[in-house]
Amino acid sequence: MKWNKILILAVIVVIVSLATMAAVAPVWQQNPYLGKYLPLIKDAVLGLDLRGGVHVVLEAQDTPEAKVTPDKMKQLMAVIQRRVNQFGVSEPVIQQQGERRLIVELAGNIDPEKAVREIVKTAYLEFKTEDGKTVVTGADLKDAIESKDPASGQVKVDLTFNPQGARKFAEATAANVGRHIAIILDGKVLQNPVVQEAIPNGKAQITGYQSLEEAHNIAVLLRSGALPVKVEIAEKRAIGPALGADSLKKSEHAGVVGVLAILIFMVMYYRLPGLVADFALLIYALIVLAIYVGLHVTMTLPGIAAFLLSLGIAVDANVIIFERLKEELRTGKSLRSAIDAGFKRAFTAIFDSNATTLIAALVLYFLGTGPIRGFAVTLGIGIVASMFTAISVTRWLLHLVAASGLVKNAKAYGA
């Protein structure tokens, strides 16, 4: 018996067990304290399918008035960004895809229909004279602020034009005293007031709103500006928070049950090396989860499936090694040299088989979008990490066990 090796083994067993319990605890919420101090799973970035939210792909389209250009796309992105910020969602995703697509992702408990409606509103504001001439547009606007008169309860939006707009507005009002100037938003007449007198200070007012919220929405739109090009919704996926939470809970449970089944199977079939493999697998799972958290990998349902699959690949590597180890022991080799020979001969099989799977993951990453891409990332990380743990961690643990002198009988190793 080598007590120092046994001590190292004991320390590893305790640390791995504690870390695993801490990582799994949030799933059952049995121990809120552990979950709080080692929130491995809690810090993971959850995809929309797991926490609810809306994913929209907007496609800019050419119209006779406005063609889609890289510059217009930049403007479009800026406007959408401003509008999205008004929702106050945490970590919104706005990114361009290809030449004329924008992906907008809003997570959390929001009303997806309302969000999408507000995001793609064109908000094209015009002031038109009776003979249909446009005198000022939303582009001339400096600010728009909603307010409520506490005395009368009247809700209004105060508009302030920029200097150029103020001049145009002053000229138009001077020329149209006694006649109507209509305020039109997205082709809909909001108001059609009669001009009482010339307005030189560049201020106008829209009234007639039912609620402050309604006025607020209009003000937001006017402030953020009109979309520079026509936009259509190419794809929209809204996952309600109820379904998201449901999926998350179920998948976590399924994952824990599946992993437990593997751990039990390995011990039943491979005995001592199986137990060693179980600890290697737990270390593997912890490493992978830590990488996910560290790299801010977004966990989606397919991502969880990929994680569990990579766990299968990690098991496979261990199985290959143990089958080899058994063979080497049967040829009468000593335990130590059998472990080394077993690893050496298993290595080419593990390397070649994982390399081909990695190729599939890479292809998926470069060609896939959205959840498929996330799936490829989780699978890729899993494959690389599983090779590392199978070849280094399992070998190290097996050597430690062999060197500790705890179990000397080759039968315990499956021979």
Binding site: R117, A234, L243, L309, V319, S353, I372
Partner: protein, 291 residues
Amino acid sequence: MHFIKLRKIWYAISIAVILPGLISLMLQGLNLGIDFTGGNLLEVRFARPVPVEKVRQVVAAQGLEISRGIQKSGTSDYIIRTRHLTQDEQEKLVAALNGLGKNTMLRNESVGPTIGRELTTKAILALLIASVLMVIYITIRFEFKQGIAAIIALLHDTLVVTGIFSLFRIEVDSSFVAALLTIIGYSINDTIVIFDRIRENMLARKKGECLEDVVNASLWQTLTRSINTVLTVVFVLVALYFLGGSTIRNFVLAMLIGVVSGAYSSIFNASPLWVDFKLLEKRAKVKEARA
């Protein structure tokens, strides 16, 4: 049991499994979801059970065809599939459903037709590129004939899965593509481990030992590993199937069929096929020598 000598039986089993699916694929194709065809999918959960006729009436009242079906899942959950709707049409539908009673929107997906087309071409492209790259890798590390045998085996697995999905009209969405590619990865992974053993045994081949016996011995040597590995993956997938969320059930089902098929094909298709390729090559050489 001599795996290689019985190879005609294994080929026959594979064909018997693939053929019905293949016929179904040609006759009725796949039951493509909105990811591929474009369209709308709305999943709502009513607080109180609502009869399916009521839901159908509401949808029909919106002037929407119900050819794509209203599916009841659970006690009061409904999945409503329609053609691609505009934002306005969607809002009207949601408002109309609210008239039926208190409900929460679980899912509302809307995919335009261009996105669907892009996804299909990208999926096929991904399959092709992945296959070519894997053949190149196997050719470098093993030999070209093994690469081809491995690709035929994975083609077998994809055909088994798509065939079964077509036969039973199970809906196919974008996660199905991910499942297929994982199956491909798994199938190749499984085949390579066996090929690795064949490679090793071929180097240590005794004089006069025939190819069939070397491959057969390799298969027996790796059999425990093949069974144990597929078992552990099946454990996880079965757990996911029964306990996982409804949204990944089809994905998991595809993987389950594919993984079992992948284990079968690497033992019963890939290795025997390679033997056949080798024997053909030998026969051609003998002919050449005689001529």
